[in-house]
Amino acid sequence: MVNPIFILILSLAAGFLLSIFEKGGRKLSLTVFYGVLSFNVFVIAEWFYRIVFLSEPALIINTAGFTAPLSINLRLGLQESFVLLFTNFTGLMAAIYLFRKFIKSHISSLILYLILIMGINGLVMTRDLFNMFVFMEIVSISTYALTILTKTRDSLTAGFKYMIAGGTASIFFLLGVVFVYYFTGNLNLDFITQSDFSHFGLISLFLLAMAVFIELKPFPANGWALDVYQSVNSGITSVIAVVNSAGIFFVFYKISPLLPVHLLHILGIAGVITFFFSNLMGLKQTNAKRLLGYSSIGQIGLLVASLSFTIHYQTSLIYLIVGGFFVNHLIAKAGLFWLTGIVEKENLKDWGVLKNNKSLLILFGVLLFALSGLPPFPGFWAKWEFIKILTQTKMFWVVGTILLGSLFEIIFLFRWFTIAVKGDIDSNEKEIPFEFSKLFPIALFSGIILLISVAIMKSYYDFTLIQLLPIIAVLGVYLLDFIPSKIKGFLSLIVVGIYGYYLYPFESNLQLFFGIIFIVGSAINIIGTLNRKNLSQGFYGFLLMMIFSFGNLIIAKTYLEFFLAWEFMTISSFVLILRGNKAQMASLMYMIFSTAGAYLMMVGFSYAPALNSNSVLINSIANVQLPVLSIILLAIGFMIKSGSFGVHIWLPEAHAEAESDVSPFISAILLKAGVFGLLMIGISYIKNTPSFDVFYFVGWFGVITALVGAFLASFQEDAKRLLAYSSMSQVGYIVASIAILSHLGWLSAMYLSFNHMMFKSALFIAIAGVYYRTHTRTMYEMGGLIKKMPLSYITVLISIIAVSGVPPLSGFGAKWLIYSSFIEKGWYFQAGVLFFSSGVSFLYLYRLIHTIFLGQLKYEHQDIKEAPIWFIIPQYIFMAGIMAISMNPNLIIQPLNSIVGHYFQSAILIDGYNITSSLGNWNGNLVMMVTMGVFIVPLLFLKLYNGKTQKVEQFNIVYAAERPESPQTTHIAHNMYAHYRKALGGWGKPRIWNFWHEATEWSHSFGDFFRHIYTGNGQTYILHIILYIVVIYIILGV
C-alpha cells in the first residue's frame, strides 16, 4: 500500500536526476526510467484492486500539512484509479514500444516522457483547478517537445501548430480558472458547486469548459491535432491520442458536474457533430496515420457526447457506456497506432504487406473490429446502451447522426481491412522486420481488450457460455489450426451435431423448423467443405462461429441476445466471404450493407417496449405492441439481410465471390436469418396490429424483388451470380408470402424456405464441383458437361425442376400454395407479378442447365472428371430430401400446418395425400405419379423410334475465311437473352447500382469538401479555435 503521491515524487526525482544517472551509462538511466514507470503501474494497480475488490473508500491526500481548500488535495477513487491504471499501463507499454528509440535518443526524451506520465497522474488526481492548469501545462510542454522524437520537418511544423493551438487553449483555461476564483472565492472542485455561480458568473465556467473542450479536439477546431497524428513518431502519437486524451477527458469529467445542463448538452451535440464529420472526412483519407487521427478525434467526440447525455443516469450504466467507449477506443487506437509504426506504410494501398504476416494481420483484425464497435468488444455494449438511452429520450437526430458517422467509420476501417487481407503487394516487398519490443505491447493490448469484452459479457450482462460460444469457436479453432483441414472439418461436423443436440428441445416448433434449416442444413453443407486440401487456416473457426450464431439467433431471449447473435453472424459471414479470391469489394459491400441494416435494427429494438416474459424472443414478442417506427426499422434491417430490392446490390457480389463451398451457406442458409427476423416481427404484428400497415409495403417489396431477381439472374454469364440472383428472387417470394399474414401465406413462406434451403445448397455445391474441375464460372466457357459430370447434372436437373415449380417436384407445391394464399388475400395484382416472374425464372434455369451441361463439350474439358465425392454426398442428401417431400408433401406440410396453426386459424384440410384449401386441392403423390407417367411414355417412344441423330460441330463458324478470335462469344450461350434485355429498354439499366454508386460518390465528395477547412496553416487553426468559442457562446446565448 504505497501512497500514490509517491508516483509524483519518484517520477519528479528521477526526472530531475536522470541527466546525472546518464553519466553512469544509458543502461542505468533506462533501468531507472522503466523502473519508475512500472512502479507507477504497480502502485495504481494495488489501489485499483483495493477500491474495486476490497471496497475501500476513495483516498484523499492532503499536501503541505493543511486540508483542502487551504492546500491542494489529491483524490484517488474508483474513477481516478481506473483511468490512471489505464494511462500508466499504456504509458509503460508505449515506452516498451519505443524501447529501441529510447536506447539511442537524447536523454532529454526519457526525462520528458517520464514527466509527461507524471503529469497525467497529477492531472487526474488533483482536485484543485489551478493545479490542474499546472499539470495540464506539464503534460502539454512535455508532449510538445516529444513531438520531435523523430525529427522531421513535418513533425516540427506539426509540433509548432500544436503549441500555438495548445497555448491559446491554455490562455482561456487560465482565464476561466481565475474567474471561477473571482466568483466563488475558491479553487477546489470539492468546495465549488454550481449554485455558487451567479448567472453572470457562468462565463467563467464557459471559458473553462471551452478550453478543456478545445483540447479534446472538436470539429472543426482540431486541424492541429490531425497534423500531429500524421507526422509524429507512432509511439508518441499513441501517447498523445490515448494517454493525453484520457487525461484531458478526465478533466472534462471532473468539471462536468459544475457545468449547466444546457452547456453540457451543447457540448454533447458538438461531440456528436465532431464524430460525424471526422468519420465523413475520414472517407477520403489515404494516409494511415492521418486516418487514425480522424477516427481518434471522432471517437473522443463520441466519448464526450456519451458523457454529456448520460450524466444523470445510474452509475453502473455510465460506467458501461462512457467506460466502454473509453476503453474500447483508447486500447484499439493505441494498438493501431503502434501497428502503423511496425508496418511503416503511409498509404493505405500498401497495407497488403500484412497478408504475409499472419500474426500481425490477426492483431490488426482484432483491434480494427474493436474500433468498429462490433461485438464482443466493449464499444458494442456501450453503443447499444447509449443508443437505447438516446432513442428512449427521443433524440432521433442524435441517434441518426451517430449511426451514420459510425457507418462511415465502418466503411473506411473495413476498406482498410480488406486491403490488408486482399490488397496487391509488390513482389519485391521486404518482409516486415520482427521486433519483439514493438509487437509485445500490441499483442498484450489485443488480449486485454478481449478479456475486458468477456468480462463485460459475464459480469454485466450475465450471459451464459452459449452466447460466448461464437467467440470461443474462433479462438479454439485458432489454437488447433495446425491440424489438417479435413480433420477440422470432421470435428466441426461433430461439434455442430453436439450443439444441435444441446439446443433441442425447443420452446416453440417454429424454432425447431428454423433449427433444422440452420443447423441441419449447415451440417450437411459442412460435408462440402471436406474437399479442402491445405490447412484452411481460420476457416472452420469462423464457419462454426456463423453456425453457432444461427443457433443463438433462434434461442435468443432478449433483444440484445438476438442482436448479439445477429452481429456475430455478420462478422463471421463477412470474414468467410472475404476469403474468396477476388472478394475484396464484395465483402466490403456486404459489411457496409449489413452494418447499415444492423444499425436500423439497433434503433428498432431500442425503441421497442420491454419484454415481459422470460420466454424465447420469438414467443415473448407476441405480447409486445411494437411501435410502427420499430417495425419499419426492423423490417428494413431484415430485408437488407435477405437482399430485398433496392438494397440487394451486395448480394450477387457476396454470394458469387465467396469461396465456392462457402456460397451455399451464405445463399441457402444465411438469407433465412432475414426470413426468421421478418416472421418474428410478424408474430408481434398479427397479435397487435399497428395503425399503419407496414407489411403491405413489405409485400410489395417482396414481389418486386422476386421479379427483378429473376430478370437479373437471366442476364448473368457467371453461374454463381445467376444462382445468387435466383436466391434473391426466391427470397422475394418468401418475404411476400410472409407479408400476407395468413395461414396459407406463412405456410407457403416456410415451405418455400425449406425447399429453397435444399435446392439452393445442392445447386451451389454442384456448381462448386463444376468450378473445381473447370476453373471457370463463366457459363459460355463450358458446355456438354453432362457426359463428364452426370451426377452433378442430375442434381442440377432435379433442383431446377424444384425451383421452377413445374410438377412433379416440391416447387410445384410451393407455387400452388403461394398463388392460393395471394388470391385468398385478394392481392391479385401481386399474384400476377409473381406469376410473371415465375415465367422469367424459366429463362435463367434453362440457361443454367443448357449452357453448362448440354451442348457440346469444349476442347479443354476433354479430360475432366466427375466432381469430388465430398461435393456429391451433400448434393444427394439434399436430393433425397427434395424427392421425399415431393413424393409425400405431408412430411413437411403436416408439421408446418401445426406450427402456423399456432398463429392463424388453419385454412387447409389435409386428408391422406390430398391437401385442400379454399381454392382447390393438391395431391402431391398423384401429381408425381401422373407426371412420371407422362414423362416415361414419350421417353420410351423416343428411345425406340428416334435412335439415329446427327451430331453437328459446335464451332464450325467461319467468317469470310477468318475464324473469330474467341469462338465461344459467337455461341448462343453467350449473352443468351440479349433480345429480352433489349425488350426491357430503359428498365434494363442498373439504376439501383447507380443510385448507390452516386451515394458513395456524394459522401466522399462531401468528406473531401469539408476536410479542405484544414488548410495546413497554423494560423487558420487558431482562427478556428477562436471562432469556435465565439459560436458556442452565441448558441449558448449567455
Binding site: 530531475f16 532529454s108 499546472v134
Partner: protein, 223 residues
Amino acid sequence: MIKKIFVALAIFGLFSIFLPIMINFDFHQNLSELSTQYVKGSVEDLNSQNVVTSVIVTYRGLDTLGEVTVLFLATAGIGFLLKKRKGKKRVASELLQTSSSFLSVVIIMFGIFIFSHGHLTPGGGFQGGVMIASAFLLLMLSDVNLELNHTILQFIESLSGAFYVVVGLIGLVLTIGFLNSKIIPLGEYGNLFSAGAIPLIYSFVGLKVGSELTNILDAMGGD
C-alpha cells in the same frame, strides 16, 4: 480578404464575450474566506512575512513544484531540440567585457539575496533565479564564445530539483504532509531564518531556475 473578415469577426466575438465582464466587474470589498485564512495562517502557522510566498511555497506548494517542473521541461525540450553549435567569432569591446564581468558578480549576489529573502520581501526563487540567469546573459552577450561548464550547471540543476523533492518528502516521512514547510523550526518572525523550510525551498528553486534559464539562453545563443 475573407480571412480578414473572419479575423475581425473572431476578435469582435471575443470582445463581446469579454465586454459583459468588464462592464459588470466590481472589485471585492473584502478578502475571500480562503485569503483571510491565508493571511492569518501565514503569520500564525508559518511565521512568514510574505503571504504570497507562504501561499506559493507551502499552501500551494504542489503548484510551485509543478512550475519548477514546467521550466525544467522547457529546458529539457530545448536541449533536445537545439544541439549547440560553435559560435562565430565576434569580440565585444573591452569596456563591455570588463564591466559586464564586474557587473555580473553583483547581479548574481543580488539574485541570491532575492531568493533567500523570499519570505520577507517581495521576491523569491523565480525572481532570484531570473536575475542570476540575466547575469550569465550579460556575460554571454559580451563574450560570445563563453564556454559554460555544463557539467556543473547540470549538477546544480538536477540536484537542486531533487533536493526540493526531498525536502517535500521529509514532511511526508514525518507524516505531516508532502511539502510541509514546518519540518524546520519556524524561527523568529521577520528574521532571515524564519518561516520553516520556505527559504530553503526558495533557495533550491532559485538555483534551479537560474541554472535552467542559463541553459536555455546558452542553447538558444548557439546560433
